[in-house]
């Protein structure tokens, strides 16, 4: 896969994202948010974690209106693949690409720790390397990870098998323990936990590697 990693002022997981994609054998390019065109033949757009635009206004709100985002939306509307991790997930919801919003954690504290996720959907390109309902260990690090969606949106997520990951032990108050969701066509994924931080032996855990490895093959 040829992946473009979008970088905003305040992104800080872009290098981790690049490393993870490269380790899994993908070609990567870095794209600055002020670009107005994407290179040709991009298969996947990856939006990394961080604090784009200092989280001013709302997390991800300003990034979702940046110049490159018109192209990102065009890519997704064409049926292209996209991935948003942490701030990337917040940006995808603010852009209206994924339903719902990430609110401040219950307890109002920033939480940085490793926790267990259940893989609910194992048919998407992002998750097909995992066995259904397998439990994987993935780090989280966020202040606004408390997922909320309207009743209708939540029902739609359930009906269309769009809930990709659930927290085993809900850290932030997220509705129905939701940690990551897919778009209706299952080609866009947003998640708060960081699979790119658990890919290497040196990380002490490689539960995130199948996530990036799976992107090579069609689900």
């Amino acid at each position: 896969m040829r992946a473009a990693v979008i970088i905003f002022p305040g992104s800080n997981c872009d290098r981790d994202m690049l490393s993870a994609l490269r380790l899994a054998g993908h070609e990567t390019v870095q794209i600055w948010h002020k670009e107005t065109e994407l290179p040709k033949n991009i298969d996947l757009i990856a939006i990394p974690g961080g604090f784009s635009f200092g989280d001013y206004l709302r997390c991800g709100a300003i990034a979702a209106k940046s110049p490159i985002f018109k192209e990102v939306i065009r890519h997704i509307n064409r049926g292209g693949y996209a991935l948003g991790i942490c701030n990337g997930f917040q940006i995808l919801t603010e852009a209206g690409i994924l339903p719902g919003i990430l609110q401040q954690n219950i307890g109002t504290k920033f939480i940085s720790k490793v926790l267990d996720l259940r893989v609910n959907n194992t048919s998407s390109t992002f998750t097909h390397k995992y066995a259904t309902n397998s439990i994987i260990s993935i780090p989280i690090a966020h202040h606004e990870g408390n997922y909320f969606a309207s009743k209708d949106d939540l029902k739609n997520l359930r009906d269309k098998d769009c809930i990709a990951f659930e927290y085993i032990d809900n850290p932030n108050g997220a509705l129905d323990n939701i940690a990551g969701i897919l778009s209706e066509n299952h080609r866009v994924l947003g998640m708060m936990p960081h699979p790119e931080r658990h890919i290497d032996n040196a990380h002490g855990c490689q539960d995130g590697y199948p996530f990036f490895e799976g992107l090579l093959q069609t689900a």
Binding site: L57, R58, A61, I62, K65, G100, I101, F148, A149, S150
Partner: protein
């Protein structure tokens, strides 16, 4: 606040005030335009509501 003995405080809410300087003389057009801004960027209507006041 109640524990600071302001006994008459019954509710507290915190919100955002965004001041916009607009080069528009028609109140109607200004309201329409700001309403658009709220929908597109300034408010996330999944969890937020907004009011517009022209001064």
């Amino acid at each position: 606040l109640n524990s600071l003995e302001y006994d008459k405080v019954e509710s507290v809410r915190q919100g955002k005030v965004i001041e916009i300087g607009l080069s528009e003389t028609s109140e109607e057009l200004a309201t329409t335009s700001i309403q658009e801004m709220c929908e597109k960027l300034l408010a996330n209507t999944v969890i937020e509501s907004y009011e517009i006041e022209i001064i």
